[in-house]
């Protein structure tokens, strides 16, 4: 199934270049990934090249997925996932 993926600036560096690259209104790259039908949010993250140890915030179609539920989050055809680094300080 096809899903679209974008990432905030730090994580965007990890995304693969694809021939479907586009940009959203924030000028962040949007890529389309073809993932197996039973993929969850963490499978998409892996396919997007984002290292597992980063434990990012993931939003699914604009809603944050609770961290404890990332592993069981079901993904559907056409979903959009946005990855944000887990930050602190500032």
């Amino acid at each position: 199934m096809k899903v679209t993926v974008s990432a905030s600036i730090i994580l965007e560096d990890y995304l693969p270049t694809t021939d479907t690259d586009g940009h959203n209104e924030n000028d962040e790259r949007i890529i389309t990934l073809d993932v197996p039908a039973d993929s969850g949010a963490l499978d998409v993250m892996k396919a997007a090249g984002i290292p597992e140890d980063i434990t990012p915030l993931i939003s699914l179609n604009g809603t944050i997925i609770p961290l404890g539920r990332q592993s069981e989050q079901v993904i559907n055809e056409g979903d959009h996932l946005h990855f944000m680094p887990s930050l602190k300080g500032g």
């Binding site: 600036i9 730090i10 209104e25 887990s86 500032g90």
Partner: protein, 608 residues
Amino acid sequence: MGWQKRILRVDLTAGTCTPEPLNMEWAQAYLGERGLAAKYLKESMDPKADPLSPENVLIFATGPLTGTMASTSGRYAVVTKGPLTGAIACSNSGGKFGAELKFAGYDLLIIHGRAERPVYLHIVDDKVEIVDAEPLWGKSVWETERWLRDQHRDPQIKVASIGVAGERLVRYACVINDLHRAAGRSGVGAVMGSKNLKAVAARGTKGVRVDDPRRFMEAVSQTKAVLWDTGHRRGLEKYGTLPMIDNQHEFGGLPTRNSLDVQFDGTSKINARAMRAVGEDGHRNLVTNKACFGCTIACGRIAKINPNHYTVVNRKEYQIASGGLEYETAFAFGAELGIDDIDALTFANFIMNEQGMDPISFGGTLAAAMELYEMGVITDADTDGVPLRFGNAQALTIMAEKTGKYEGFGQVLAMGSKLMAEKYGHPEVSITIKGQEIPGYDGRALQGMGLGYATSPRGACHLKHDLFHEDMNSGEITGKGKAERCKVTQDEVAAVDSTGLCLFTTGAWKMDAFARQLDAACEGGWTTKKLEEVGERIFNLERTFNLAAGLTRADDTLPKRFLETPAPSGTAKGKVSELPMMLPAYYKERGWTEEGIPTNETLDRLRL
């Protein structure tokens, strides 16, 4: 070792400078920097003293690892009673000044009294002089640093000074060192101004000794390697702290338009990407990154304003590369004011550094003034004809200059938002805790952060606890479970703040990394357990200072807006802060009474 085992006491009233041995019993109990300075402060003054009176004491404090080979070892703290809060103030800074003060042979510089006329302190190792600063009074931080280097013909001299804001007692004036590093919060610069102390210029040649050099270097190499190889470090190096603005916007925790909103639709124009973007005219805001002394992270931003921007056209002195936006400045001048002009934000940030003001408090105060203006409570007649509307970039840049020079409506903004809002009869527009303006996190979306704000010894502060992960990644907007983590992380942060190293290392290091480096550098058997105990002791010591100063449980609260008005959007939409549920649980975790007073048992356990 680690410590120089010597402090310098300066009495500006008497005009004396006296070195004395460091109390090593206290060093073992309070470590250094924040903790040790809090102990010396408590023993040196009456906590009830007016913060701007000669009775207040101002301490520049290094930690045992300041100036060593450890990564991020450039940290020092300014500790005093804060005029913005009436509570103990501990403002931490980087740059190079702290290490230089240590190289001159002092762990702490303790300043008493008030000079009759403006003075500065010139320290070259054992030679310490109180020098007439009449030629410097009225000058900016930048002019002061230049003048002192020229005057002493020493380009290596390191300076911590105040600008006009500190001289004129702007309640959130800061101490700036190395041109753009700030001991920023709670008005420590106003305390310096009240003492007629313009600057401390330090030069040291003594170095820092450690107990077991071989073991220390092994510990330093290992911890540096761990730090180096993290996404956390790489992210800070490349993008600074600014990516947080996208996170908070997305999450719905970004204080916007004086916290009336929690998301700002202009973030893409002021975020890390915007800072790096090259415009059509070839201009790029970000010039490079910069590290404090000994730092292997280098999160600092050096930026340049577009020379065609209205703020700097015909003003060559600002067409320079200087300290750029970090998350807190971008939030305070951007989202909180509804402004998305990155050059205007950068200009206001330059002014903060030039005249020595805390951008978080200035932004928060201007945001409150903007709300008052939009409510019609103040008008152009009050604001020198400047329409203080949310989104008006010129209002930001004009008011930054006016406040920095203490002119016109800037004199009102200089009061801080609490006193200003009370003056106009609308205390509810002041988004402060203990009188200090909030940093860039909404206490409804980040519930643990709200508890941390309410219980931080220096009022609203995001750097006195560490609940970012629990608040943002747990998936539930709840106060449940936050009390225990708030206590634990407050104690850990108090310990780290007392080492001489930067809190930003905690993205990669756990407490054992600090303990290992300390144990190799200092006598006393520094273990993780001892560090945690020391952290808890420090936090409770600060609490006892505040209680003695007259603060009570009633000060451990949040702005009405967080407690009563539901978040309008984002992940926490419809939620208010659960502080009333969290606070009693937190007091219990701490071993404090229901009134927030440490019990005798707690004080005995901590040997306080």
